[in-house]
């Protein structure tokens, strides 16, 4: 028996507003080639196979998902019109929006969704979200039924995540291997060309089916309108060159503007600077299997010694927020003051005392970091100096990013690892907690308390119970010091002044913006 029904709220009202906004839209300017510069090129445009930011920036203009994240990161229907969840929490029935066309002209139907989800289970970069799925059936031309082997309270949240998005592609493409598909989605822009090391070009999809259940854009979903004729995403590795290109007007959007450049350009009338705080967590993971950080007292000493304000001020060039939580304040799972008394203490005497209690004898503390991300490197250097001040024998190991990832994946060779996690806290608690649980946890110590609470988080249908479970997890993290939350990182995005209605978000969104 289906007892829970979710539909896009206030549909009739929305349609009326949509008509109104349609009239307003006519006053907005269609046309133009919008050029956005980003540092890296995408490893692939096969959206579901990668969680790289460089791919996401492009792919979320081409593809869409059953559910998307709203402006405040909560899941909202996108390609789904409505859905029901059975009383036992095991059966989802998705009613799809009708008349949605792929870029090849074919209408999206249930078979496409079924094939796409099945492909995600095979090649998706976050394929583990499909592990609890027992079956996917097309139960009508526009209806898909997903049966779960056990309750997964966040299943819709996972389906809506932009991290490695579970996009819907034509069934014939879904039959292909990773990286071998034609780039075809249902999004407001369609793929034109990808010239590696140079650019990706998209053009407005003239037969795009906007979601009329909404009146305006909302995060990655809502009612999207493509105003630009084409979008060019240029790959410009050098930060100074990207800023210069914005200044000359060669590009109109910057994925990220260095803080120093933002300060320099803040009075430039040709440029608008958009702050996005919080963007990410700055963290330091501690290896609980390798001396000296295998000793909890040493880990506590590190937590107590650090001056987070100094680290954040230097590593972010001044755009940061000091928060202790492992979720952003104001979000559903934010756990209040838990752990705050241990955050940003910079108590050198207490830290030295803890080291003495730990029996620390000057063993080398290896801080692993990389030279690809300034935040990582700066955090390691500043934290390293602070830890030297409490008498630790610090060695900073700077390698390139792939080497850092490979080194971190082994239990030996490092004690602390600097990581800026952006998309995980945006997604909610599951991605963040995922680092600390399971056989391949990042601290190399399986913690039963964390495992049990994560189980509750993953199985309870009661939100309050899940919130308490997350609060317990945060408490545990501040008891065991498996990782240190340093602070919240902000970023600046930038546009030329003639870009209207731009709002910063996880990616530079090219829909519902236009040239003056």
């Amino acid at each position: 028996m289906k007892i829970m029904r979710f539909t896009s709220s206030m549909r009739g009202f929305c349609c009326a507003l949509a008509l109104l906004s349609g009239n307003l839209a006519s006053a907005q300017n269609m046309g133009g080639d919008a050029i956005m510069a980003q540092q890296a090129q995408p490893p692939t445009l096969d959206a579901m196979t990668t969680s790289a930011q460089a791919s996401r920036n492009i792919n979320l203009h081409i593809y869409e998902t059953l559910f998307a994240r709203s402006e405040n990161a909560t899941p909202i229907p996108d390609l789904v019109e409505s859905f029901t969840l059975s009383e036992d929490g095991l059966t989802y029935v998705f009613s799809l929006r009708q008349g949605v066309l792929f870029h090849n002209g074919k209408e999206m139907q249930a078979e496409d969704v079924k094939a796409s989800l099945e492909r995600y289970a095979k090649v998706g970069a976050s394929a583990k979200i499909m592990e609890p799925v027992a079956g996917i059936e097309a139960t009508g031309p526009h209806e898909v039924t997903v049966t779960m082997s056990h309750v997964v309270p966040d299943f819709i949240g996972q389906l809506s995540s932009p991290r490695a998005p579970a996009v819907v592609i034509p069934a014939e493409e879904a039959a292909k291997e990773a990286g071998k598909i034609e780039i075809i989605g249902t999004g407001p822009y369609e793929f034109v060309e990808y010239v590696p090391d140079s650019h990706v070009k998209l053009k407005r999809f003239e037969n795009y089916s906007p979601n009329m259940n909404y009146t305006e854009r909302d995060g990655f979903g809502g009612r999207k309108t493509a105003y630009f004729d084409t979008i060019t995403i240029r790959f410009m590795p050098e930060g100074g060159a990207r800023t210069a290109a914005l200044q000359t007007g060669e590009v109109q959007f910057l994925e990220q503007l260095p803080a120093a450049a933002a300060q320099r350009l803040q009075d430039n009338p040709d440029i608008k600077i958009h702050e996005m705080t919080p963007w990410a967590f700055q963290t330091i993971f501690l290896n609980a299997s390798q001396a000296p950080t295998d000793n909890i007292k040493v880990r506590e000493a590190i937590q107590i010694a650090l001056n987070m304000e100094e680290i954040m001020a230097i590593s972010t060039d001044g755009l940061y927020r000091l928060t202790h939580g492992w979720q952003h304040p104001g979000t559903v799972y934010f756990a209040g003051d838990i752990g705050q008394e241990l955050y940003n203490q910079n108590d050198v005497d207490r830290a030295k005392q803890l080291l003495a209690e730990a029996g620390y004898q000057g063993e080398e503390l290896v801080i692993l970091t990389d030279n690809s991300f300034k935040n990582h490197n700066d955090t390691a250097v500043v934290a390293g100096e602070q830890l030297k001040a409490i008498g630790m024998n610090v060695s900073i190991k700077v390698v390139d990013w792939p080497t850092a990832l490979a080194t971190r994946a082994k239990p030996e060779g490092w004690n602390a690892w600097t990581l800026m996690m952006g998309i995980e806290p945006y997604e909610g608690p599951y991605g963040v907690v995922g680092f600390f649980v399971g056989d391949n946890n990042f601290q190399f110590e399986k913690d039963e308390v964390l495992e049990n609470e994560y189980q509750v988080l993953n199985t309870s249908l009661d939100l309050e119970v899940r919130k308490q479970a997350f609060a317990n997890i945060q408490k545990r993290l501040y008891e065991k010091f498996y990782a240190i939350k340093v602070g919240d990182v902000g970023i600046y995005q930038a546009t030329r002044s003639n870009v209207v209605n731009y709002k910063p978000y996880r990616i530079p969104r090219m829909w519902d913006v236009w040239f003056e």
């Binding site: 196979t49 970069a125 976050s126 394929a127 583990k128 010239v195 140079s198 990013w401």
Partner: protein, 316 residues
């Protein structure tokens, strides 16, 4: 001469094989692989392992190495893990960018470097000589990426004469190509121009002290004719040597310049491949670069014989 060229070409084969083997070994020993890049920075170990299997990177080292050499014998450099195209295609797409950048830089370097070297020698110990040599020293000393950014700021941001970067193919728009290539080629040429100018100057000074120049002057020949005909021909051998070396350095410098000016060339292809552990592209790119070095050296050796009749390889 033909025999010599054949010998040089044959001797290049083991060099190229060693280059490819060493690069394969080095990149294999360095931690990290393309699967990590594909899966994303915060992917779990299971996620990375799944991608690794899909890409065939979980196979033993020797299998991947043997496969690569097997393909090489058939003229196939393999398939890029991340670019979704063959390595040959990836290189062919970028070759025009790097080649045109290098040739334009070479042209600027030779024209400005040789002429300033000759002028400095002719105006030896004057303010002209000192100014030109100071300028040359400056060129040799400045880091190319810094110079590139200064040129971008000056000519693109302040003056608005040229674009900050990007690439327009010569075949599409000749003027557009020249506009996009001018700043990177100038940056690239500037560092090598100083070396060439100094080498030309010192060679020219030496030649100008030779008896045959004195004789020419005693005969009453005009100074320009002495410089252009009698002296300059004898300066060419060291100039060609430096130019040959510079081609290799320019190709190497293109790696940095292509990043600064967002040019989709071979240098950026190789750097991107190294950072993402795209082994077939690294292998193919390094093989191509090593081949270019060998080829340029052979050309330089042949040019010696044409420029200096005393050089005859058959006798040696």
């Amino acid at each position: 001469m033909t025999r010599y060229i054949l010998q040089r070409l044959l001797s290049a084969i083991p060099v190229l094989l060693i280059v490819s083997l060493v690069s394969f070994l080095i990149i294999w020993l360095v931690p990290g692989d393309a699967a990590s890049e594909m899966a994303g920075p915060t992917a779990s170990i299971e996620e990375i392992e799944r991608v690794r299997q899909q890409m065939g990177l979980d196979r033993p080292f020797y299998q991947q190495l043997l496969q690569w050499y097997g393909q090489l014998l058939q003229g196939d450099l393999g398939h890029s893990f991340l670019l979704n195209r063959s390595v040959v295609t990836a290189i062919a797409e970028r070759a025009p960018v790097t080649l045109s950048l290098t040739l334009l830089a070479l042209f600027i370097m030779i024209v400005l470097g040789v002429s300033s070297g000759v002028l400095a020698a002719v105006r030896h110990n004057t303010w002209v000589d000192q100014s030109l040599m100071t300028f040359a020293l400056l060129g040799m000393s400045l880091p190319d990426f810094w110079l590139g950014l200064v040129l971008i700021y000056s000519f693109a941001v302040l003056l608005g004469w040229l674009p900050t970067g990007g690439y327009i193919p010569f075949s599409e728009d000749m003027l557009g190509w020249l506009r996009t290539m001018t700043l990177p080629a100038l940056t690239l040429a500037f560092t090598q121009m100083g070396l060439l100018a100094r080498m030309t100057r010192s060679s020219m000074l030496e030649v100008l002290r030779q008896d045959y120049v004195r004789t020419a002057r005693a005969k009453g020949l005009p100074e320009w004719l002495i410089i252009a005909k009698h002296a300059f021909a004898n300066v060419l051998v060291p100039v060609v040597t430096v130019t040959g070396l510079s081609v290799g350095i320019l190709l190497g410098g293109a790696v940095v310049i292509e990043s600064v000016f967002s040019l989709p060339g071979i240098g950026r292809l190789i750097i991107g491949a190294i950072l993402r552990r795209d082994i077939p592209v690294i292998q193919g790119g390094l093989l191509l670069t090593a081949s270019a070095f060998v080829f340029v050296n052979i050309i330089v050796d042949i040019l010696y014989a044409y420029l200096d009749p005393r050089v005859r390889y058959e006798h040696s």
